[in-house]
């Protein structure tokens, strides 16, 4: 229903982002799921397909239903409808312990009373492997993760990055056909994050089955996944390759995530008339419903209406707010066309920007990008 419409919408709207590199439904290998979960007034309805070797990222704001989708895949939340097939086998009614699924939880949930080695050996033990053999397998996994020295340690003595790798080893030790990662980097501090993200990318690249990760961090999604599924309010609003989604956002949420000004309007040649707003002159020649994006850095601000500017787009704005953004100032502007603009601290001082100040914003047509909605 909703999922279908959106999937179709995406593939018609884009050339490169829509179709997947493999159609899991046809071959039977990989993941083929339509997850419908109803809880009170909230309804999750997403369609996910992935071939073995794919890394899919579910990206979305808090409360969008990403984690619910993950829990439904793991069997921790029952499906209200839809279906779930993994490598051709139906798993809808299979209890979590019988699913070939491994989960890395957000705060890892390493068993505090077991050593690192026994945490990793837990899965094999539950699958009927003898104690000595399970520990030997666990030792191999720890070796692979570079954690052999910590085998005897208790989880509370591990750093965040080490705990993350133990959780990954524990999930992989059962040889899952579907690996689920819930916000795998959210519990880490910024410095550790960088290292762990790179390591995780390496491990995921070597993983031969389907991996699905949930994140609200676009960078994690871009670096780790080769397919991005954006969920808002329980629905898929956009999907495609990370690069494609980043360059062609279709909702304000994604545009904000990737730091672009996004508008929807009707194109007639090089002119796009924005709904309830002014026109934007673009470099593309299009007709019909389109999106227009431009980065905040492409906006130039002036105190007086510019006459000599070569920019085709000139709008009168009012400063609503200012904040530092890296080594720049990000200005939040209201007016005919609400937009955000980045400028240097020096420029902001020279313009005497303050909330309430009236400014003129210009954007060159060449720095805008228009694409069909």
């Amino acid at each position: 229903m909703t999922g279908d419409r959106l999937t179709t919408g995406t593939s018609t709207g884009t050339g490169t982002g829509g179709p997947r590199k493999a159609d899991a439904t046809g071959s039977g290998a990989g993941l083929d799921a339509r997850l419908v979960v109803e809880r009170g007034s909230f309804r999750l309805d997403v369609t996910l397909t992935a071939a073995p070797g794919d890394v899919v990222a579910l990206l979305g704001p808090n409360g969008a239903g990403k984690t619910t989708a993950l829990r439904a895949l793991a069997g921790l939340v029952p499906l209200s409808g839809g279906h779930l097939r993994l490598d051709g086998k139906r798993l809808d009614r299979t209890p979590p312990e019988a699913r070939p699924v491994g989960v890395v939880f957000q705060d890892y949930l390493l068993f505090p009373h077991l050593s690192v080695l026994d945490n990793v050996a837990f899965g094999p033990r539950c699958h009927g492997v003898r104690k000595a053999e399970a520990r030997a397998q666990a030792a191999v996994w720890l070796e692979r993760m570079g954690l052999a020295a910590h085998a005897a340690a208790k989880p509370r003595n591990l750093s965040g990055g080490q705990a993350q790798r133990v959780a990954l080893a524990r999930a992989l030790a059962t040889h899952p056909r579907l690996l689920l990662l819930d916000e795998p980097l959210a519990a880490l501090d910024a410095r550790t994050r960088l290292d762990v993200r790179a390591q995780l990318r390496r491990h995921l690249a070597g993983f031969e089955a389907v991996a699905v990760l949930v994140t609200h961090d676009p960078l994690d999604a871009m670096v780790l996944a080769d397919h991005l599924v954006v969920i808002e309010n329980g629905r898929i609003v956009q999907q495609g390759s990370p690069a494609h989604v980043a360059r062609h956002p279709r909702t304000d949420y994604i545009a904000q995530l990737v730091g672009l000004n996004l508008y929807r309007g009707r194109a007639d040649g090089h002119t796009v008339r924005v709904q309830d707003g002014p026109s934007i002159t673009t470099s593309e020649d299009l007709a019909g419903d389109v999106f227009v994006v431009f980065p905040p850095g492409a906006v130039t601000l002036h105190r007086e209406r510019p006459h000599s500017s070569s920019a085709r787009n000139v709008w009168r704005c009012e400063v609503a707010g200012l904040e530092t953004h890296g080594d720049q100032i990000r200005a939040d502007l209201t007016g005919d066309l609400p937009l955000v603009a980045d400028l240097t601290t020096v420029a902001a001082a020279e313009l005497d920007l303050h909330p309430g100040a009236v400014v003129w914003a210009t954007v060159k047509a060449a720095q805008t990008h228009a694409y069909r909605a």
């Binding site: 069997g75 312990e97 699913r99 949930l109 699958h127």
Partner: protein, 281 residues
């Protein structure tokens, strides 16, 4: 006003723990009842120590009746605790982890023996398991099992009173424990029972131990239900509290000596609980 520098030097260095005590004296309307309350609680215990027949103590405590009663008490309380553990931990898990119709009612029923006068519990047990009781009748005619006025009866009476303590304690610990560890275990292939046995049980072990100690202490001091359901037969059903009560009629010195033994056991239990499981407060 004190200059800030001086105030800074006078103040004790922060030790991390926020000060919560009120400075200065407590108001009299609070202080007076508090002190009376304290005296009220402590005085009887002090009196027990003051009036203790210290000289004849060794003789009293080594008499065979005392040892018999003490041994029976410890054996029965331990058995009642074991029964409470076997039945109570699963019951606590059911109450803490599952949702079923009437769960609140079940919880209320489990808690009832906590507030029920133990004598009433004893009468109720007689009505259920007595020779003419609802279930006891069948136990007697089918299996020839008689429970009232036996040592097993003592264990049952004590377990009836002690079980709620264990269930409430363990349920609280289970509720505080993160159920997602069980979920993590199931995603690794553990059945719910395996997850309980290998993950939940070790995680809530301190709570179970605390509940077991509470149940044991309660069973050790049990009087009303025991004397009603199991009677007062030396060597068979006469536990320490019954022996104390009986001794008070004929030999008050012996009663004091027995009471001191029970007091010592209680203090030991409290100390053990505080140090190991409750944490210093």
């Amino acid at each position: 006003m004190t200059p800030p520098g001086e105030a800074g030097t006078a103040r004790r260095p922060h030790t991390g723990r926020p000060r919560r005590r009120t400075r200065g004296g407590a108001p009299l309307p609070l202080l007076l009842p508090a002190l009376i309350g304290l005296v009220f609680l402590v005085l009887p215990l002090v009196a027990l120590l003051v009036r203790a027949p210290w000289r004849s103590m060794p003789g009293l405590l080594t008499s065979s009746e005392v040892w018999q009663a003490l041994r029976l008490s410890v054996v029965c309380a331990t058995a009642a605790t074991a029964v409470s553990l076997v039945l109570g931990v699963p019951l606590a898990w059911l109450l803490a982890r599952t949702e079923f119709p009437g769960r609140r009612l079940v919880r209320a029923l489990v808690t009832l023996p906590l507030v029920l006068p133990p004598v009433v519990g004893g009468v109720a047990l007689l009505m259920a398991l007595g020779r003419n009781g609802v279930a006891g009748r069948w136990l007697d005619s089918w299996f020839g099992i008689t429970l009232p006025f036996t040592t097993t009866g003592v264990v049952l009476a004590e377990a009836f009173v002690a079980l709620p303590f264990l269930v409430i304690t363990v349920e609280g610990t289970l509720r505080a424990a993160d159920p997602r560890y069980e979920e993590a275990a199931t995603t690794l292939g553990a059945s719910r029972f395996t997850a309980f046995r290998r993950v939940t049980l070790p995680l809530v072990a301190p709570g179970i131990a605390a509940g077991a100690v509470l149940a044991w202490a309660r069973a050790l001091g049990e009087f009303g239900a025991t004397i009603t359901f199991a009677g007062n037969f030396p060597g068979r059903t006469q536990t320490m509290p019954l022996a104390v009560y009986l001794a008070l009629q004929n030999d008050p010195e012996a009663a004091i000596a027995l009471s001191l033994v029970l007091l010592a056991v209680s203090v030991a239990v409290l100390a053990g609980l505080r140090d190991r499981w409750m944490g210093a407060s």
